[in-house]
Structures are given as C-alpha cells and as structure tokens.
C-alpha cells in the first residue's frame, strides 16, 4: 500500500477544502430558507398548538356521514349542537339552545336559539339552520347515515322565527334534551346535492364551535384554529392538531420526544412503561365502553324469520347462564387488561353512576366450573363417552367463537374462554376474522359466540335499543342488532324508560331492563376497560376532564378537554419554529457529513490516479 510521498498529502486537503466550501455555500442558503419559511409560526411567539396523536383515521369530515370516534370528536369542535353534556357530571347543559320546554303531552318541544352567534364566514346562526339540518336528515336517506336514530321519531321540525325551533314527535321521548346532532349552516349545505358524495374538505370548513378546521391532509393530520368569536370565549390554545399514527408505539415515542402533547388508547403495557417518565403525566379514566360476548339466542330478522347459523343449544337460557358461570371475569381484568378495568356487571358502565347496575347477590352468577357443570347436567346436556357434552338431539356442544383478528384483547379472551369451556365439555373453535367480517357475521346471525362492545352515551337509550326487537335486521338489509335478544318484557321496559321524564323513575326502569338482560344472558358483559391516556406535563398544566372524577381528556361527550386545556408558561415561551430550526441543523449536518465523505472519496481517487501514474 505504498502511496506517492510527494503528491497525495498535498492534493487531498486541497480537494477536501474546496468541496467543503462549495457544499457549505450550497447548504447555508437552504437552511436560511427553511427557517424563513417557518417564520410566520415562529414570529407569532407565544402561540400554543395542542397536538393530539390518534391511531384512527377520519372516516369522513361530512357530519352527516362520519361516525368514527375520531370524526365525531372533531364535529363537536367545529359544529354546534342544541345541547351538550357538562364536564362535571354529564348533566345536560345549554349549547346553541339557551333553553327549551316541552308541551304538556311531551310531543312538542320548543328550543330557543342563542342570539348573536355567527358562522365562521360571518353569517348569523339561526333557527332556520337547525330546522334545515333536521329536515335534511328526515328527507334525505344519505344524510341520516350517521345520526338517523335521533330523527326516527320526529314528525316535523319547523322554525317559526329566527330564534325558535319546534320539534314534534310521534311519541314522548326522554332523549329530546340530548340530541347530539351537529348543526350545519344552511347557506353552505343547501347547494350540496349529493350528501353521500360530499367530502366537506373545502378549508376552512364553515362552522361554529370552539375551533375551525383549517388544514387537512388525509392520513397525516388535521389542523384546527381557535375560534376567537366563540360565544363561550376563545379557547386557551391557539391551534389544535390531530396527528395520525400507524400504531400506538409510534405515538408513544412521539410523546416521549415531545412531538405530540397528548396520546390516547394506550395499552396497559405502555401505560405502565410511562410511569415515572420525565415530563409525562398519565390519565387513567373510567371508560365509556363495555366488552361483551354475545351468545346467539336464535337470531331472527324483523319479520321474525330465523336467520344465521346459531347453535340450537344456545337458544336454551340455561346453557347460556352455565357458560356465564364458567367465565372468571376477575382473572380477565387482571390478565387481559392488566388490572385497568372494572369487572363486568349489568350492562351500562360504572362511569354513569346513576344507571350503573350490578346484580344483587341472589341473581349473581359467580365463577364456578362445578356449578356450571351441574347446571348443564340438570338441563339435559349429558357428557358423552369422550367427555364432550351433547344436546337432546345428539348434536355436540361445539361453538364457533368469532373474534376481531387484529385485537390482542380478543385473542387472549378467546384463549381463556376456550380453556374454561373445555372444562365443561364444550368445544370452542376460535375464528379470528377482519373487523368488517365480525360486523357482517353479527348482523347476519352467522355465529355461535361473538365479541361485541359499544361506547355508551350519557343517555343510555342508544345502547338499550340495541337489544330490542326493533333493532333486528330488516329482511332487505339494514338494522343494527347486538345480541338478538328480542324479549317482550325487555321491550316493554325499554319503551317505558324512553317515555319517562322523571329521572329517578327512569333510572329505576333502566335498572329493571338491565336485570332482564342479565337474566336472559344473551350478552355476557365481561368488563369495562379504562381509557388510558398520557400528556406532556411540561407543556400542559392540565385539562378539563369529563367527568371531573375519573374522567378522560380526549374521548369526551363534549369539547371540554381541548377547549379548556391549560398550557404552561414554558409552552407559551417556546417559539413555534423550533422544529424548523432543528431541521435546518439537520440539513447542515447532513451536508457536512456528505462533504467529508465526498472529499475523502475524491482524495482517494486522486491518490490512486497518481499512484497509477
């Protein structure tokens, strides 16, 4: 490896220097440019952006179509509703409607609309906009996609003057005070002919709420700006940005690095891993969801014709109750949820204290394999010679358990249930399928057992309705069934609670409906998972939780969490351009590195060239 003693040492530094200078000259203007382009954000020092990491995509920004959790939480921020749920305890509070009253027969409701409220393009918000929104949903089937259930019982919605809306219903409905339908501006939407095809992505979106949507990049982010004219007052943060992440680990890493401020839907492992992390505070909220296993009680459509492939033995409530006894909910909460959840009880989750109901000791079905076995013996499902139980007709108890293939919770629950039921002489075949297939098979009744779960609203009507005969699928398609319960007594209790306006009376009826549901055991409520979130405590001092006790930041029934976020002084002091400045440093660094590499390559090439000479 002899190198020419004279030429090389002189040539190499010269080449290196030359290239370095050239590259630096090229890199510096580029860096300057990138800082300049960021200057609007950097100059307006003191502006605070609240960045929220989400793992769900916005299914639609059209409030008539979007029903994913991500979309509906955005609609609450950019469109008004008649009323909303208070942050403290989910009580109904005025929003666009300042007050409301019903007629003596409870069939006619009058809402008074707030004065001096304007859409973000300056037009006033009137009763006409409200009437237009509801009428569009009643007349146009496409507009009823997301919130059609609210207008089902409406006969007419009129606006006698600019400040008054009158809604007439066919029967008394206790849900009238909590209609969570986003109200849209008539002057924008009357020109939309086909709601089903309208993406509503012209920015900024004309609306009225604490925030205004200003920029949207599908699968990347949605940015909202604070609405300074919001009637309740300007929000504490200047900007709100929802950032999409492919998986939750990536979102957590971004939180750790300070790239986002709030992350939601943490797994128990992640939540534990963030314990004691610097500048990160965790929020463990009681969830609004319940997680259940549906046992097919003999699915039928709304015409009463049997549909699906349910196992006949599951039509026997005694079999369903025996299966319930063979499931150890405490173990599931401990092992599947890592302790972050509440053991399942009646139906509605404990976050709604009024309606939460646990079976009394007499009706309870505690975990006991022996008593489950005894119950099946008595019900006439004897064990065969191989230990497997079979029904009176000789068909073995062999159930297909449909699971969400992408859910690790489902996979674990499936394993546990399979093992427990095998001790009863019942064979369970796990069928993990895509989310779409789970929904299709549930609606078609093509299952023996299936995992299900719903987020519950403060008003329980929506999820209570799922178990009625009316929720069964129609022969031509449509319908949103859950457990195909369709029980006369349950339906009667459901109808009575809907027409009951006295709160304590209604609570009593809802409890009786839950008792009936528990007794029939078509849906086994396993647990209520906690909502696990975390936020940067160096940038935010706190958020308004809903409810105040054990509440959540993001998955609220309202906009309180984002609206009343409290940024720290540190967040205000840090200028928004930091990200761009570091990008400039990176560019310069990369350029320097490239220069060094290029220079050394050039030097070596030169060396070998000289060597050849």
């Amino acid at each position: 490896m002899g190198v020419g003693p004279s030429g090389a040492p002189r040539a190499a530094p010269r080449a290196l220097l030359l290239i370095l200078t050239l590259l630096l000259a090229a890199a510096v203007p580029a860096a300057g440019q990138s800082t300049r382009s960021a200057s609007p954000e950097a100059d307006s020092g003191g502006e605070v952006t609240l960045r929220v990491g989400i793992q769900q995509e916005f299914d639609s920004l059209n409030p008539f179509l979007g029903f994913s959790l991500a979309s509906t939480s955005v609609f609450r921020l950019i469109y008004p509703t008649l009323t909303t749920y208070g942050a403290e305890d989910f009580s109904v509070v005025p929003e666009l409607a300042t007050d409301w009253k019903s007629s003596a027969d409870k069939l006619s409701w009058t809402f008074h609309i707030r004065q001096g409220v304007h859409w973000s393009d300056g037009e006033p918000v009137t009763a006409g906009d409200v009437a237009y929104t509801f009428n569009r949903m009643m007349d146009d089937p496409a507009a009823a996609t997301a919130n059609g259930n609210y207008v089902e019982g409406f006969t007419s919605v009129t606006a006698p003057d600019d400040r008054t809306v009158v809604i007439r219903t066919t029967s008394p409905q206790a849900t009238m005070r909590s209609i969570a339908v986003p109200i849209v501006p008539e002057h924008v939407w009357s020109s939309v002919d086909d709601v089903a095809e309208f993406a509503n992505q012209r920015m900024p979106i004309v609306g009225n709420g604490p925030f205004i949507a200003t920029e949207y990049r599908p699968q990347q982010f949605l940015t909202l700006r604070a609405n300074e004219d919001f009637w309740r007052g300007t929000p504490n943060v200047d900007r709100l940005r929802f950032v999409n992440f492919e998986n939750s680990d990536a979102a957590v890493q971004a939180l750790r690095k300070g790239e986002i401020d709030v992350v939601r839907d943490l797994t128990p492992t992640q939540f534990d891993a963030l314990r004691g992390a610097e500048n990160i505070r965790r929020v463990r909220g009681k969830g609004r969801r319940f997680y259940e296993i549906v046992l097919n009680p003999g699915a039928a459509n709304s015409a009463g014709e049997p549909i699906g492939t349910g196992h006949p033995a599951l039509r026997d409530p005694r079999v369903r109750r025996a299966i319930d006894r063979a499931i150890d909910r405490e173990v599931l909460v401990e092992r599947v949820l890592g302790g972050y959840g509440t053991v399942g009880a009646g139906y509605l989750p404990p976050i709604f204290e009024d309606y939460y109901w646990t079976p009394p000791p007499r009706a309870r079905r505690p975990f006991s394999i022996e008593s489950a076995n005894r119950a099946l013996d008595e019900a006439g499902y004897p064990r065969g010679p191989d230990g497997a139980r079979h029904g009176p007709a000789g068909r073995p108890l062999d159930f297909e358990f449909v699971l969400h293939g992408d859910s690790s919770t489902d996979a674990l629950v499936g394993e546990f249930v399979k093992e427990w039921l095998s001790r009863l002489g019942i064979r369970v075949r796990l069928r993990p399928v895509s989310d779409n297939q789970v929904n299709q098979r549930t609606t078609a009744g093509d299952f023996d057992m299936v995992v299900s779960g719903w987020s519950v609203n403060p008003d329980p009507d929506y999820v209570l309705r799922l178990q009625t005969c009316g929720a069964r699928p129609k022969p031509g398609g449509g319908g949103l069934p859950d457990s195909f319960l369709c029980d006369r007594r349950y339906d009667e209790l459901y109808a009575r609670q809907l027409a009951e306006f006295d709160h304590s009376e209604r609570v009593e009826l809802v409890e009786r409906a839950q008792r009936r549901f528990h007794r029939m055991a078509t849906g086994l409520i396993l647990f209520y998972p906690n909502a696990l979130e975390a936020y940067r405590s160096d940038r935010f001092a706190g958020f308004m939780l809903q409810p105040t006790e054990g509440g959540v930041i993001t998955a609220q029934q309202g906009y309180w969490g984002y609206y009343r976020a409290r940024p720290t002084e540190q967040a205000r002091a840090a200028s928004g351009g930091a990200g761009y400045r570091s990008a400039a440093f990176v560019i310069v660094g990369v350029a320097l590195l490239g220069a060094v590499v290029l220079a050394s390559v050039a030097a070596r090439r030169r060396r070998t060239a000289e060597h050849r000479e």
Partner: protein
C-alpha cells in the same frame, strides 16, 4: 472418504454420486454451518412436546408476571401474559418451519407440474401455461397473499395456500428450461423412438433428471416462505391463537413492547427468523453447486 467397493449397477452408481456430492458439499464451510444449525433447530422443534410442558403455553395457566426481563427462572423473560419467551420461541419454530416447508413443497409441486407439462407438450399448452406463469410472476406476491388470506378463513392452511400459490412461477420457469435441455438429449429421443408414452418419458427419464435442480430450488424457496409466513402473521393475517415467530412479533408490537423496552420479547423471534432463513439459503446455495457442476468453477 471410503468409496463403495466396486460400484456396479444403478444402485452403486447412485451411491457413488451421492458420495461425490457429499464431498463437494463438505468442502463448503458455510453449507456445513447451515446444515448443522438447521439440524439442531429441526431436532429441537420436533422434540419440543417431549422436552417442554405444553401446558405452560396455555395463557390461562401461565404463572409468570407479564413482561419481565430475563432472569434465572425465565431465561428470555416473559411475554404480556406471563409466558416464557424461550418457550414461545421454541414452539414458534415448529410453526414457522412447518408452514415454510409445506408452502415450499406446495409451490414446488405446482411449479414442477406446470414447468414439465409446458416444456414437454409445447404448442398451445405451453403458450397457455407460460402466460399463466407470467401472470403470476408479475403479480406482487405479498399483495396477492394478503388478499387471499383476507378472503379465506384464517388458519395455517390458508397461510400455506397463500404462500404456495404465489411463489411457484420461478420454479415453473426453471423446470421448464431444464426440461427443454433434457428433452434434446439422445436417450430421450431413443426412448421415444422405442415407443415410450408421455407418462413413461416424463416419469422415468425427464423427472429424475430435473429433480435435483427442483430440490435445490425448494431449499431456497423454504427460506422465502418462512419470511412470507412471518410477514403475513406480523400483519395480523395469521391465526392469533397459533404461535409462530411472526405472530410473536405482532403481539409484541400490539402490546407496546417497544415502549416498554422489552427487547427480550422482540429479539428471539427476529433472530430465529434470521438464523433459519440464513441456514436454508446457505444449504440451498451449496446444494445448487453440488447438483449443477457448471456452477462449481464460478464459486471458487
């Protein structure tokens, strides 16, 4: 190396060829290493039910604390439900090998039949089969496999089918080329002149001549099939109840093992895939040299 005494007859010739093959194979250190590792992994995988208690894979009976780092009790730590990662990796090897091998065999069967038939019969049969092969060749295999495993019900068979059906075109092309060369040889012509039918020609003369090459390709296909299996399982298209290296990686991601810093949950399945795939590739490459003497010169 003791050569068999007086090699006479077909059996003797075959034995001698085998001995010569082994001599060439032995000379390659990489090939020997691959073979050794592979034998070890296969033996361990086969003996898993004998050497380890399968009950400990049952989540309802797992006793350990969730996501613990390696310790004297659990050498490779535990997963999110308290099972030993060592045990999971061990049993995962069974599924990864099983799926990899069956998918490779399936792809080999399809590829060989298509290649043989296309080359032997020629004409419109060949045109038809070759266009079909081309069609599958240009189709992105992973996308097709994902589509297949979404449509079909989840399970081992679906994964095997999805990989097998998408990975045969290379084999088919290779076999066709080899068949074309073999069929020009005089002994085939002689057999044909003596009245040998298609079945006799293909079964007695062409297939035996093509088989060694097919064997070498299959060894290489196993490697890519194992990777494909892991990919599909990682994307959540496998059966979550079945333990394979890909599904281990998926549950590690799903439960947030990265955030928790649980390297012991991610490394073993990842290294397992890397080592087994490397071994298969090493063996396959050497087998190619053994069976195709023309390659020998180039490799030295």
């Amino acid at each position: 190396m003791s050569a068999p005494p007086n090699p006479t007859g077909a059996a003797g010739r075959r034995l001698a060829a085998l001995a010569e093959g082994w001599r060439v194979y032995r000379a390659d250190r990489g090939g020997l290493f691959g073979l050794a590792v592979l034998s070890l992994v296969v033996v361990l995988a086969l003996l898993a039910p004998v050497l380890t208690p399968p009950a400990e894979l049952d989540v309802t009976r797992a006793g350990g604390a969730p996501l613990r780092p390696p310790s004297a009790e659990n050498w490779l730590g535990t997963d999110e439900s308290g099972r030993s990662v060592l045990l999971l990796t061990w049993w995962g090897a069974r599924m990864s090998l099983l799926v990899g091998l069956s998918a490779a065999v399936l792809s080999m069967l399809i590829g060989t039949v298509v290649g043989l038939v296309a080359a032997h019969f020629g004409g419109w049969v060949s045109t038809l089969l070759l266009r079909l092969t081309d069609f599958f060749l240009v189709l992105p295999a992973l996308v097709l496999a994902i589509a297949l495993s979404t449509v079909l019900s989840r399970g081992v068979l679906t994964i095997v089918l999805a990989i097998g059906v998408t990975s045969w075109p290379q084999t088919a092309r290779l076999v066709r080329a080899q068949t074309l060369t073999v069929e020009t040889r005089p002994y085939i012509e002689r057999a044909r002149a003596l009245g040998g039918g298609h079945r006799h020609l293909l079964g007695k003369h062409v297939l035996p001549a093509v088989l060694p090459l097919v064997f070498a390709t299959t060894t290489l296909t196993v490697a890519s099939a194992i990777i494909a299996e892991s990919t599909l399982s990682f994307l959540g298209l496998g059966d979550p109840a079945m333990i394979s290296w890909g599904s281990m990686l998926k549950s590690a991601m799903d439960t947030g093992a990265v955030t928790a810093g649980a390297w012991w949950y991610l490394l073993p399945p990842g290294l397992g895939i890397a080592v087994v795939v490397l071994s298969f590739t090493l063996c396959g490459r050497v087998l190619e040299t053994v069976l195709n003497p023309r390659l020998r010169g180039e490799r030295r």
